[in-house]
């Protein structure tokens, strides 16, 4: 019966998912329009038109990418990855960005974030490598290839510096390995140096962690060399914490500190979080009304069109509005997850699950930071935050998911 299906059915496997994405995109557009309705001159005024244009570009990208068979994508992955790395290096040389960072390529009328492209390319290459293996790797040493594929772009975005994107690369690695069947214990060992890095601030906590890790290694008994290696790596990263911290940009240090105590300096670093909570909290159950949030109107709410767009939702549409948006986003994520689970083909499955992991991380971290559950990392909210590169990358990713769904 397949042959009788219309052509678009071979590209869009999951129509509700597409519908959800379209609905979220237009709701996002409405929120960006509201973000521009302020009483003070603001960059956010009128940018909804730009976002509308970007949405058109994103839908075009969707149309193009969804026509590409998965095999072709698998074949093109190394090339795309190489091109993305090239752009990441280029952006370090000629890039621009806020506060002296180098994360944007200025292309005249538009600005491109190579990191977004690099994330997609890395997902594709990882999926190609992992799906090519006969069986899932058991030991850590067998994972050198996927780890290297992720570490290179991760290091490049860290230099920009872009902490949020670096975090997403980590998510991509773990998500793809998990879907490829790597045991959880191995994944745990893989992330342990990262945990050491965080716990390194406190000698006592870090000491306990090392003991726990040693106990885990003793019980789980992987290869002796790997065990000792990971232990050494943990000790090394733990020791590196403080020197690395002092190399972070002050605004990044502030953001992490503010996460711990936002009220410490309400007009300084904590300003973002405090104002976001005030906006959301004052929204109450029903909100202040669409377009009418005073915190937003009077510019108390910072980055109201990008990082803190969800605070506008909270202030203007209230708890009920928040519930609607959360439900739509969850539904969207759940259907993506279902697609990953329903495909028998490893390449498509790993790509879909990785995309799910990335979007889920974006939603969780972005919305979490507006209420102080997560540190402020500058990760945009899919479909809602203003920003062209990310919108196009989400829709391009969605095209792959739809293709996976259609080919299943």
């Amino acid at each position: 019966m397949r042959g009788a299906e219309p052509a678009w059915r071979r590209q869009v496997g999951d129509v509700p998912l597409f519908g959800l994405a379209l609905l979220l995109s237009f709701l996002g557009l409405a929120m960006i329009f509201s973000a521009g309705q302020v009483d003070v001159p603001s960059v956010a005024t009128g940018i909804w038109r730009h976002q509308l244009l970007w949405l058109a570009v994103a839908l075009a990208a969707f149309a193009v990418v969804s026509r590409v068979p998965l095999r072709w994508l698998e074949w093109a992955a190394p090339g795309a990855y190489a091109a993305a790395l090239g752009l990441l290096v280029l952006v370090l040389i000629v890039g621009t960005g806020p506060g002296g960072t180098r994360s944007w390529l200025d292309l005249g009328p538009a600005r491109l974030q190579p990191a977004e492209l690099a994330k997609l390319a890395t997902i594709l290459l990882l999926a190609r490598i992992l799906s090519g293996e006969q069986r899932a790797a058991e030991g850590l040493a067998a994972l050198w290839k996927p780890v290297l594929v992720v570490l290179v772009p991760l290091a490049l975005v860290l230099v920009q510096p872009d902490l949020g994107s670096a975090l997403i690369f980590g998510v991509i690695l773990i998500a793809s390995l998990y879907w490829a069947g790597v045991p959880l214990a191995t994944l745990f060992l893989l992330v342990s140096p990262g945990i050491s890095l965080i716990l390194g601030f406190s000698a006592v906590v870090w000491g306990i962690w090392i003991v726990v890790l040693a106990a885990f290694l003793y019980v789980h008994r992987p290869y002796l060399g790997e065990s000792l290696g990971m232990l050494a790596l943990n000790i090394a990263t733990g020791a590196l914490t403080l020197p690395l911290w002092s190399r972070l940009a002050p605004y990044q240090q502030d953001r992490l500190l503010v996460f711990l105590n936002p009220d410490a300096d309400p007009r300084g670093s904590g300003w973002h979080l405090v104002q976001s909570k005030v906006a959301i909290g004052s929204g109450g159950l029903l909100g202040q009304g669409y377009l009418h949030g005073p915190q937003k109107r009077l510019a108390f709410l910072p980055e109201q069109h990008t990082d803190f767009i969800f605070s506008v939702v909270g202030e203007e549409l209230g708890f009920l509005g928040v519930l609607v948006f959360l439900a739509l986003l969850t539904w969207f994520l759940a259907r993506t997850l279902r697609t990953a689970g329903s495909t028998p083909e490893p390449f498509g499955g790993i790509v879909t699950f990785s995309l799910f992991g990335v979007w889920f991380a974006h939603v969780l971290i972005n919305i979490g930071m507006t209420v102080g559950l997560m540190p402020i990392t500058g990760l945009p909210l899919p479909f809602l935050s203003y920003g062209g590169s990310f919108l196009v990358s989400v829709w391009a990713g969605l095209a792959i998911v739809e293709r996976v769904s259609a080919e299943a």
Binding site: V278, G281, Q295
Partner: protein, 594 residues
């Protein structure tokens, strides 16, 4: 995992938006609304005959909303050409801003309509400026009453800290001196509040509501006992170019009728902030125009204190009114190793106490002082509360001093640094004795009425009129009247020291004084009352260095004119007997200036 995380997020939003919503709503309001104080009009002050002493006229103030330092400075420098702010003034304002960066900064409370108009025309440039209609203080006859009314000004940092101004906000205009300060609580009223909506940059977006959210409560009016016509009159006849003062009290009520200090200044200069040049000129002027010479300064009382010695001596039975001393006056008295001189080198001969008061004989009082003794004199002075403030309703009253015990002398000069002979000096009102004009007037009030004087007060009020001092002469009525007669003879008997300036229609009583002082020529005193036997006015005047030789006493003539003027006003003469000359006869040396 997806479900867990979404539930976690939902829970966080539920907590913020449903459980703690009200506290965040409050913070949102606080974010966007700025309370601006609406000044209350101060109470008006009236003189006893209804003339206005202090009033309000429409004025404008300009303030800046709090914000970042460079923004405030930039706005100030844009305002400077409009409001005429010098660089110095701008620096002073920035200093004020840094002290209280969270409060609106009062830039000017004395802006003209033209200045306000040009700010309003260029509103987009001045989005942080608040223009307020605010009542501005005006003193129609400021110079004449400067030391009584005082003046108003913006509350200082030190005042904000003080408990007297608890609950006051920065930028508020408060009484700084005189009655304005003393009655701040009555005159000041309660400021209201209005709200403006501001954005995150601190610029005003809009006014909230048609009027203030809390209306200001105007200050209460005050009626003074001060006779403004008399005040004007003294100002016109006070010896030109001289320093000094004059104070008059109604002994029936304790109301202060006259309160004049020269030289004076214009308190209107202080409203809206005194400019630096004016302030420096006032402060460095050697004549000290800011000094209140009636209650804020003390002088040796000189001969005007002799009646006090007479009262103490008569009370102890040491002397009677017609008693002579052992040694008649030959111009000086030898005591110890010193010769103590009388002011009259030719001597007065042998005098009774009445005659010694009339002619102010020093030799008589030297002997009376010794007869009385140092300890009884100190006890007597303490009994009449010399060296203590009168309790008038003005801030910063000087208390003067009088020795209280031998220990007082020991402390001042050392146990062997002084001798019994100090009593000779004290007996003629010299030495360790400092009194204000008002304190001296209280002594004569007590002599004139025979009762404890009513505590002098500037504001007319029943409550204040019922407050009397807790001392009296404690002298039998017969002896008090003898003393009054002696004071009458000072003015009305041929050899009296004030005889040349006696009044035609009234019998005045009083005492002249010539106070030696370390600052040059003797001060000229006159303290008296009239009509002598049922006084309507007690007055004390002093002209600093106003007694350059033994014949001219600058304080007497103008004080007599004050008494005459007040009594004529109080008891107008029947038309047919209206005095045509009115002037004191033989007033050849009277230096009246018209």
């Amino acid at each position: 995992m997806l479900v867990t995380c979404v539930l976690l997020l939902t829970g966080a939003f539920f907590r913020l938006q449903v459980l703690h919503s009200s506290s965040y709503e409050l913070r949102s309001e606080n974010n966007r609304l700025r309370a601006i104080s609406v000044p209350a009009p101060r109470g008006t002050m009236y003189g006893r005959n209804g003339r206005i002493v202090a009033e309000n006229v429409p004025g404008y103030s300009v303030s800046l909303l709090p914000g970042r330092e460079d923004t405030v400075r930039a706005t100030l420098s844009r305002l400077a050409p409009i409001l005429g702010l010098s660089d110095q003034t701008q620096d002073a304002l920035m200093k004020k801003y840094r002290a209280l960066p969270q409060r609106p900064l009062l830039v000017s409370d004395d802006a003209t309509f033209e200045e306000i108009s040009s700010i309003e025309e260029r509103r987009p440039e001045f989005r942080r400026a608040i223009v307020d209609m605010r009542p501005r203080r005006r003193y129609p006859d400021g110079r004449v009453v400067a030391h009584v009314v005082g003046y108003v000004g913006e509350i200082s940092e030190a005042e904000l800290q003080s408990p007297d101004f608890a609950g006051y906000d920065a930028g508020r205009i408060v009484g700084k001196a005189g009655l304005e300060r003393e009655y701040e609580g009555t005159l000041g009223g309660e400021p209201g509040v209005r709200y403006v909506e501001v954005n995150a940059l601190g610029s005003i977006v809009q006014e909230m509501g048609p009027g203030p959210a809390v209306a200001p409560v105007p200050g209460k009016d005050l009626t003074l006992g001060l006779d403004m016509d008399l005040q004007d009159y003294v100002d016109s006849i006070f010896p030109a170019g001289h320093r000094g003062g004059s104070v008059a009290v109604d002994p029936h009520t304790g109301e202060v009728l006259l309160f004049y200090s020269a030289p004076t200044y214009d308190p209107n200069d202080f409203v809206g902030g005194v400019d630096l040049d004016t302030w420096n000129a006032l402060r460095t002027d050697s004549a000290k125009p800011l000094l209140n010479r009636v209650t804020g300064a003390t002088y040796p009382p000189g001969s005007t204190w002799k009646p006090a010695v007479a009262v103490m001596a008569m009370r102890r039975g040491v002397v009677s009114i017609d008693e002579h001393m052992d040694i008649p006056c030959r111009g000086a008295l030898r005591y110890g190793i010193r010769v103590w001189r009388c002011w009259k080198p030719d001597g007065h001969g042998s005098l009774s106490l009445a005659g010694a008061i009339q002619q102010s004989c020093d030799v008589y009082f030297y002997q009376l002082g010794m007869k009385l003794g140092l300890d009884p004199m100190m006890a007597g002075a303490a009994r009449m509360h010399f060296g203590e403030p009168t309790g008038i309703d003005l801030p910063h009253e000087a208390s003067g001093y009088f020795p209280t015990s031998r220990a007082w002398y020991d402390q001042r000069y050392g146990p062997r640094g002084w001798t019994e002979s100090v009593v000779l000096n004290l007996a003629i009102g010299q030495g360790e004795n400092q009194e204000s004009l008002l304190q001296n007037a209280m002594l004569y009030d007590a002599i004139a009425t025979g009762r404890p004087p009513i505590v002098p007060h500037l504001v007319r009020s029943q409550a204040l009129t019922s407050r009397r001092v807790d001392w009296s002469l404690d002298l039998p009525e017969r002896e008090r009247k003898q003393l009054v007669d002696a004071l009458v003879s000072v003015v009305n008997a041929e050899h009296g020291t004030a005889y040349p300036w006696r009044l035609q229609r009234w019998t005045a009583a009083g005492k002249t004084g010539t106070a030696q002082n370390p600052h040059g020529e003797p001060h000229s005193w006159f303290v008296g009352f009239a009509p002598a036997h049922d006084p309507d006015i007690v007055v004390a005047s002093l002209v600093e260095n106003g007694h350059p030789d033994n014949t001219t006493s600058l304080a007497v003539p103008f004080t007599m004119s004050v008494i005459r003027r007040y009594l004529e006003e109080l008891h107008p003469a029947p038309a047919d007997t209206a005095p045509d000359t009115g002037e004191a006869r033989a007033g050849g040396t009277a230096r009246e200036r018209r």
